[in-house]
C-alpha cells in the first residue's frame, strides 16, 4: 500500500493503471487478449476499454473473496456512504436486492413489502421461497401513482404478521416519493425485524444536500444502491450497503451464490471512480442537478396542462418526503397518457425519457445533463401539447390493483400449470409474472389470483402501448395458471 486510504484514492482504478504499464503477456481469459482477437469490437469500444477487460488476478484482487484492492475500494465506499460495509455488485441492483432478500429470509418466512416493489424482489422470493405480505401503498388517484407506505399500515402488517423477518421499503419510488424511513426502521427494529431498503433511485441522497434521508442514515440494515443511475457508474454496476447488524461474511456467501466468478473490471473500476467523484464533488454536482430539475419543473408547469409535481405532495406520512431531482410529470390534463407522451418525445423529437406509465412520465435528470438539453425537453413538451393535446377523457388512471396472494411465489412458479386464454383466466391462480415495463412493477406475480380488474388493466395497458413482459406467451394473450387450484 503506497498511501493511506482516503476518498481521493480509487484503488481498483489505480491497480488497473499499474497493471496496464506492466505490459503483462496474457495467457489467461478473456480470450480476446486485450482486444487483439476481436478487432471489430476493439474498433467499437476503443483499445483502452478492451485492454481493461481482464480477469481477476493477484494484483487486481477477486470480487468473490476480496483481500486487496477490491477490499480497499469497498472500505472507501462504505465510508463514503456511511455504511458498516459496502459490497461492489456487478449484476445490477437486481443482484443487490436479491442478496438482501436472501440474506434475511428462508423458505416459508415472511417479508412485509409494498406492492410497488421492483420485479427483482419477487424474483428473489421465487428463488428462496419467502412469502410476501403486501402493505397496500396509498394511491394518489389524481396522479394515478402509488405512494409510500404509511407507518400505521406498516405497524398493522407487523401486528398481523409478528413472525415476519423483514420489512422492505422503496425509497424513493421511481416517481420520487419517500416514506417515513426513520420511523419504519425504528418500528422494524422494535419488533425484531430487519429493514431492507431498495434505494435504486437514491444514490444521490448520500451526497447531496437538502435531499431526503438515506437508508444508512436512517439506520436501515441493508440498502441496494444503483450507482449506475444517479451515481454515474456503468450500467449494471451497483452497490449493496449493510449496517452493523449484518454479518459481512454471511452476506458475502449469499452474494456468491448467484454472482459471476468473472466480475468485469470495467464495471468495478466505474464504481470505484464514481464513488471517488461523488465523495469529492457530489455535493456541488447534485446541487446543480436539483437546480436543473427545479428549473425544468417550473418551465413545464408554465406550459399549462402538465403537472410537474414536487414537495407539495408531502403529507407527513405516505408522502413523507419528495426527491426533487426527479422530474415526474402528470400528463393527464393534456389528454394524453404518459406512455403516449413518452412515445411522441422519442418518435417526433428524438428525446428518450426514462418511462411513461398511464398518467405520468419521468425524465431522468442527472450529473450528465446540460441546461440546453433541458430546454429541448421543455420545448418539446410544449410542442406535444400544442400539436397533440386532447380533451381529458376516458383515461383510466388507476394503477394499483390489490393483489390476492393465494400461494407463495415459489410454490406457484414451480407448480404444474395449464395455459388459458387471458379472458378465461379470471378466478385462476397465476403462476407467472405480468409486468408493465417500465416501471417494472408487477400486475400479477406467481401465486396471485387473476381478477377481472387485472384482466381489464392488462388489456388497457396493452392497447396504450405499454411494454408488457413476464408471461411465457410474449403476446400476453394467454396466461399460465396453477392446474390444481381451480376456482
Amino acid at each position: 500500500m503506497k498511501e493511506k486510504l482516503s476518498q481521493e484514492r480509487a484503488p481498483i482504478y489505480e491497480a488497473l493503471e499499474e497493471f496496464r504499464k506492466m505490459r503483462v503477456v496474457p495467457f489467461d481469459v478473456p480470450g480476446h487478449k486485450r482486444g487483439r482477437g476481436n478487432p471489430e469490437l476493439t474498433a467499437l469500444l476503443g483499445e483502452r476499454c478492451v485492454g481493461m477487460d481482464v480477469n481477476s488476478m493477484k494484483p487486481l484482487d477477486n470480487l468473490c473473496h476480496p483481500i486487496s484492492v477490491i477490499r480497499d475500494a469497498e472500505i472507501l465506499a462504505a465510508q463514503a456512504f456511511g455504511a458498516a460495509h459496502a459490497f461492489l455488485m456487478v449484476g445490477g441492483t437486481t443482484s443487490a436486492v436479491q442478496a438482501m432478500v436472501l440474506s434475511v429470509a428462508k423458505r416459508g418466512e415472511k417479508i412485509i413489502l409494498p406492492r410497488n416493489v421492483h420485479r427483482s424482489v419477487m424474483c428473489a422470493m421465487v428463488l428462496c421461497g419467502a412469502v410476501p405480505v403486501y402493505v397496500n401503498p396509498e394511491c394518489n388517484d389524481d396522479l394515478g401513482i402509488p405512494l409510500g407506505m404509511s407507518v400505521a399500515q406498516v405497524e398493522k402488517a407487523i401486528r398481523e404478521n409478528p413472525d415476519a423477518k423483514a420489512i422492505f421499503v422503496n425509497n424513493p419510488t421511481y416517481y420520487g416519493i419517500c416514506s417515513d424511513l426513520r420511523s419504519i426502521v425504528k418500528l422494524a427494529h422494535k419488533y425484531g425485524m430487519y429493514c431492507l431498503v431498495d434505494e435504486a433511485h437514491g444514490t444521490h441522497f448520500y451526497f447531496g444536500e437538502g435531499l431526503p434521508v438515506s437508508a444508512m442514515a436512517a439506520g436501515a440494515d441493508m440498502a441496494a444502491v444503483s450507482m449506475h443511475k444517479s451515481g454515474g457508474s456503468l450500467t449494471q454496476s451497483s452497490i449493496l450497503l449493510t449496517g452493523p447488524t449484518m454479518p459481512e461474511g454471511y452476506v458475502r456467501q449469499i452474494i456468491n451464490l448467484t454472482q459471476t466468478t468473472s466480475a468485469s473490471y470495467l464495471l468495478l473500476s466505474s464504481l470505484d471512480i464514481s464513488r471517488r467523484n461523488l465523495a469529492l464533488r457530489g455535493k456541488e454536482a447534485f446541487a446543480q442537478v436539483v437546480r436543473m430539475a427545479e428549473y425544468a419543473r417550473e418551465e413545464i408547469n408554465n406550459i399549462g396542462g402538465y403537472y410537474a409535481y414536487s414537495r407539495e405532495l408531502c403529507n407527513g406520512d405516505s408522502v413523507y418526503d419528495f426527491d426533487v431531482t426527479k422530474l415526474s410529470v402528470n400528463t393527464l390534463p393534456v389528454g394524453l397518457a404518459g406512455i403516449e407522451v413518452y412515445d411522441l418525445l422519442r418518435d417526433e423529437y428524438d428525446i428518450q425519457i426514462e418511462f411513461g406509465d398511464l398518467g405520468n412520465i419521468l425524465a431522468y435528470i442527472s450529473i450528465g445533463d446540460r441546461p440546453r438539453d433541458i430546454e429541448r425537453l421543455v420545448s418539446a413538451m410544449a410542442e406535444v401539447r400544442r400539436r397533440f393535446a386532447r380533451a381529458r377523457v376516458s383515461l383510466m388512471s388507476q394503477e394499483y390493483i390489490e393483489p390476492e396472494v393465494a400461494v407463495s411465489p415459489q410454490d406457484a412458479f414451480y407448480a404444474d400449470k395449464v395455459s388459458l386464454k387471458l379472458e378465461e383466466a379470471e378466478g385462476w391462480i397465476c403462476s407467472e409474472f405480468v409486468m408493465c415495463y417500465p416501471p417494472g412493477i408487477p400486475i400479477l406475480a406467481p401465486g396471485e389470483r387473476i381478477t377481472r380488474p387485472i384482466i381489464d388493466y392488462i388489456l388497457y395497458a396493452k392497447e396504450k402501448g405499454c411494454s408488457m413482459t413476464g408471461p411465457e406467451d410474449a403476446n400476453i394473450e394467454r396466461l399460465n395458471v396453477i392446474k390444481a387450484c381451480e376456482q
Binding site: D347, E348, D350, R372, E375, V378, S379, A380, A382
Partner: protein, 287 residues
C-alpha cells in the same frame, strides 16, 4: 515565419487561411471565441475553431439570409433574429425603414461584446433603437411567443455545440407558433456537399417540412464555408418564395447589395439535381 488558421471541413479535408495576427482569444460559458486578422479575408471570427464569418465574404451570407424573405413578405414590422451575435443580419435588417422592432436572441453575450470591439463591419448597427438584444437560449425565448412575428431569421451555428437546439423539431414547431398567420422563417441550412453536413441538412429539412406548409431551400456561394456551397431554408405559412416575390416593390426600395438581386433570388431556388434528390428523399417518407 508563417501563421495559418486551419479548419477541418471533414476528417480528410482542411481549409487554411494565412493569419497576420490573432486579435482576440477567449473562452465564454458556451464556447471558445477567436478573432484573427488575415491578408486575404480581412478579420475573421471563429467559434470553437469553426469559421463563422470573414470580412471579405460575410456580405453573401447576410444579404441572402435577410433580403430573400424581405422581398417576399409585403409588410414586415416585427422580426425575431436568433443567434446572429456578429450583427450582420441586423445590419441588413435596419436598412428597412418600415421594420418597427427587431428582437435578437443570442445565447452568448461575450460573442456580441467581442464582435462589437473587433468586427465593427458587422456589429456596428446593434445599437439601432429598434434592436432589442436578449441574452438567452433561443429555444427558451421562443417558447413564450405566440402569433407575434412577421419574420424569424435563424442565424445559427452548426447543429453540434450550443446551436444544436436550433435544428430540432421542437424549435421549428415553436417558430411556427411564434409567427403570425403569414409569417416566414428563414434558417441557415448547412451544406449538401460533404456526407456529414448533408445528413444534418437533410434532417433539418425533414423537420421543417413537418412543421410548415411551405418549405423551400435556396443556395448561395460562400467561399470560406465547407465546400463553399451553402443552403438556406425558406419556410412559410402563406407566401411562396417565387410566386409571391415582390420584385418591383423591392427594387423600388433602392437597397444596394453586392450579392443579392431579385433576379438572383429566382435563380437561387433552382438547385443542383443531387441536392434536389437529397431534399426530396425526406419530403415524403413518413419516417
Amino acid at each position: 515565419m508563417e501563421f495559418w488558421f486551419s479548419e477541418k471541413h471533414t476528417p480528410n479535408v482542411k481549409m487554411s487561411i494565412r493569419v497576420d495576427r490573432q486579435l482576440y482569444s477567449g473562452q465564454s460559458e458556451f464556447q471558445r471565441i477567436d478573432v484573427f486578422e488575415s491578408p486575404e479575408f480581412g478579420r475573421f471570427l471563429t467559434l470553437d475553431g469553426y469559421m463563422m464569418l470573414t470580412e471579405k465574404d460575410e456580405f453573401i451570407y447576410h444579404e441572402m439570409i435577410t433580403h430573400v424573405p424581405m422581398a417576399v413578405h409585403p409588410c414586415v414590422k416585427n422580426v425575431l433574429v436568433i443567434g446572429a451575435g456578429d450583427g450582420g443580419v441586423i445590419r441588413e435588417l435596419v436598412r428597412y425603414k418600415d421594420i418597427e422592432n427587431i428582437d435578437m436572441v443570442e445565447i452568448d453575450e461575450q460573442v456580441v461584446e467581442v464582435c462589437k470591439k473587433y468586427l465593427p463591419q458587422t456589429a456596428g448597427w446593434l445599437d439601432d433603437e429598434r434592436v432589442h438584444i436578449h441574452y438567452e437560449d433561443g429555444l427558451r425565448f421562443i417558447r413564450a411567443c405566440h402569433d407575434r412575428y412577421d419574420l424569424i431569421i435563424v442565424d445559427s451555428t452548426d447543429p453540434f455545440g450550443p446551436g444544436e437546439g436550433l435544428f430540432t423539431r421542437e424549435f421549428y414547431g415553436n417558430c411556427y407558433k411564434a409567427l403570425k398567420d403569414d409569417g416566414i422563417m428563414v434558417n441557415q441550412h448547412e451544406s449538401p456537399f460533404y456526407p456529414e453536413d448533408a445528413v444534418a441538412c437533410q434532417r433539418a429539412h425533414k423537420r421543417i417540412v413537418e412543421s410548415f406548409p411551405i418549405s423551400r431551400v435556396y443556395q448561395a456561394h460562400i467561399p470560406t464555408y465547407p465546400s463553399g456551397h451553402w443552403l438556406f431554408g425558406f419556410a412559410s405559412k402563406k407566401y411562396h418564395p417565387l410566386k409571391d416575390l415582390r420584385e418591383a416593390e423591392w427594387n423600388q426600395r433602392g437597397i444596394p447589395c453586392r450579392y443579392y438581386t431579385t433576379t438572383l433570388h429566382k435563380g437561387a431556388f433552382y438547385l443542383p439535381a443531387y441536392v434536389e434528390e437529397l431534399l426530396a428523399n425526406v419530403e415524403l417518407t413518413p419516417d
